[in-house]
Symmetry: C2
Subunit: 241 residues, 2 copies
């Protein structure tokens, strides 16, 4: 008694099916019961039970709209805690490399409300190497300049209590990328400007993002990312049954 109840949340994320659901939800969008059931490879009635559990643990929120029920993560703090957790290497860190090779996780993807994966890391490091961004005491500090407007970022006049550009550890790269309001603004711009889009057509569900030709140009012009992109965009056509 009288201890923090890790176990409630732990129990909620202790199941592989629920983990798969949470991974879908980490994108930040809402999903229906059926979609999540499909993603986890289980029947809707089993998914219902899982989702009720996740809801009771405070990790997800359900919203009824017509005959559909949309589920989403209950907040950014949940996504952040899960990222943090995923960054801990479980005994054999082989699994990380395997996953990347398998291509099961998109190279370019969104993480709750910001961009993640190798592209996000490359962008962050380009910004730092070009002097637009500096890391200090565990926070990112931007230097005013025209890049930010190009990236759709509206710099605040003075730093508030809430971090504007929060460093976020990517658990495949184990390197930092930008989260927080700045991360959200960059993702918004990238989608609005057509630099990235969600491929809803191809493989079953549209996990991950694609860089469009105009996106490649923009990234090259603004951040000088060219060679890295080639490595990132090698589309993993290999689909294991």
């Amino acid at each position: 008694m009288a201890t923090p109840r890790f176990d409630i949340i732990g129990q909620a994320i202790s199941d592989a099916s629920r983990t798969r659901m949470l991974c879908e939800l980490m994108e930040g969008r809402s999903f229906t019961n059926k979609e999540l059931a499909g993603a986890a490879g289980i029947t809707p009635q089993t998914a219902t039970a899982h989702l009720r559990l996740l809801q009771h643990a405070g990790l997800v929120i359900a919203e009824k709209r017509g005959r559909c029920v949309y589920h989403r993560l209950s907040g950014p703090d949940v996504a952040q805690a899960l990222e943090q957790l995923a960054a801990i290497a479980p005994a054999d860190s082989l699994y990380r490399a395997q996953r990347r090779k398998a291509g099961g996780l998109a190279q370019v993807r969104s993480c709750y409300d910001h961009l993640a994966g190798p592209l996000a890391v490359a962008m962050t490091e380009a910004l730092m190497s070009r002097g637009h961004l500096r890391e200090k005491n565990g926070g990112f500090i931007p230097h005013a300049g025209p890049v930010w407007a190009q990236l759709g970022v509206d710099l605040p006049e003075r730093a508030g209590r809430a971090p504007f550009a929060r460093p976020c550890m990517d658990w495949t790269e184990r390197r930092l990328h930008i989260a927080g309001p700045m991360g959200r603004q960059i993702l918004t711009r990238a989608l609005d400007a057509g630099w990235l889009h969600r491929p809803l057509h191809g493989s079953m569900r549209g996990r991950g993002l694609e860089v469009t030709p105009s996106g490649q140009r923009a990234l090259h012009d603004i951040l000088g990312i060219g060679a890295q992109l080639d490595q990132i965009i090698v589309s993993p056509k290999r689909e294991e049954a």
Copy 2:
């Protein structure tokens, strides 16, 4: 497949007994099998199984010394991730208030390698209100001054990549306190100077810390913490069966 294995770590922390063990270990010290079994209210052979599981998940490390086996958290990142997790309010946030009332968790305690609980929060906020410390972009930035030497803190000449004073969310207070190297140095000073000590004599196991009279003087002289201390030190004599 091909998803981050939350479930491995989740499964590791999904049990109430393991949660209790982890809470002990969050102090940052090493504990034997028997001690942890006692803390969790289970027999040593059951504890063995639990600890092997935690070890396999990469959360704890075992070290054999003589006929004893000492277990400890495998690193600060584990402690940080667990804190992050505990800060998520699980549905009914009543449980947090209850726990504080019950006094099951010490008001003054260490969290892995730094000070936590109401005292740590009060110290942090005193430092900020007195202008010694500033929060910016999710990091703490210290202003040079004599306070730091008094607190045993050796300020680095220039900020490195690793944050010197990392903000850490206290999950009982839901307010920030100081972790990272600075937090470690402050705790070290507090113990070395006899401001705090671990009461090994009293209730079964010495969870938590006690503020000594000299510690009260020091906190008053250096940070002006007086009234807050009275609220913090109301020793919870109530021991429920």
